[in-house]
């Protein structure tokens, strides 16, 4: 049996439940984070894809291209924001998927531990790449 996770989902319909506000828990905040980061990522991720695959051909985006781009700190901030938001948006999405589909508490804990280790490790590694380049 799957464990039931305390998740309000979308705290919609105050109109449907007059006078009731959802209890603010971690799950409320992650819901909100997913919407805000998702909205920002529409622009950051699609913008990044456009730059590297439409405006430039991907085969031309070599190390000189990166050096030229990261010469400007604005692009480093852009790329780091994309890294941070996309990684934590994805991490949280996968956490929710694991809650839904991995019924055994032990396996769920183990899978999440791996997910967190890989995500935080690669977040640190990606940050290092952007900060120390050049």
């Amino acid at each position: 049996m799957a464990s039931t996770v305390e998740r309000p989902g979308s705290p919609i319909a105050p109109s449907a439940q007059p006078g009731r506000r959802p209890r603010q828990s971690f799950e409320t905040w992650q819901w909100f984070f997913m919407r805000v980061s998702g909205l920002v990522l529409v622009f950051l991720a699609l913008g990044h894809f456009t730059i590297t695959h439409v405006i430039n051909d991907v085969a031309d985006t070599d190390s000189a291209f990166v050096a030229n781009r990261w010469d400007n700190p604005v692009w480093r901030i852009y790329d780091w924001s994309l890294l941070a938001l996309a990684l934590f948006h994805g991490l949280n999405g996968l956490r929710v998927i694991m809650d839904d589909y991995i019924a055994s508490p032990g396996k769920r804990a183990a899978t999440k531990a791996l997910l967190y280790a890989v995500s935080f490790g690669l977040f640190a590694y990606g940050t290092l790449t952007i900060v120390t380049f050049g």
Binding site: G38, A45, H53
Partner: protein
Amino acid sequence: MSRARVANSTIYKGRSGQWTFVAHRTTGFLVFFFLLLHIIDVSLVNVDPELYDEVHELYGNVFLRLFTLGLLFALLFHALNGLRIIAVDFFPRAVRNERVLTGWVVFLTLAAGLPVAWVIMWPWLEGRF
């Protein structure tokens, strides 16, 4: 799958809502794993710029161009469907137009994706890769 499992799992009532739900999770999962790969391939620019260039040249290869098309459509669908989810969450009455909104998500994914797919494949179609 027991009855209890079904009752406790996240299940919509079929049709377009169910399919977009599944597709949103699948595309999100795929994009996340591409991101992990991408963090590692970009990090090579610090480790060894020449190695970065060598690895990066692979992206011009036709197989990785096709792989990029997968990323493109996953990204577009996930972004547009995410906007649909936000719209329904903040304007609950939009759920009445659920099927129309889903139609727009699919239409815009194809309308934006197909020309970009053409641009990505163009160097290969020209015979440069």
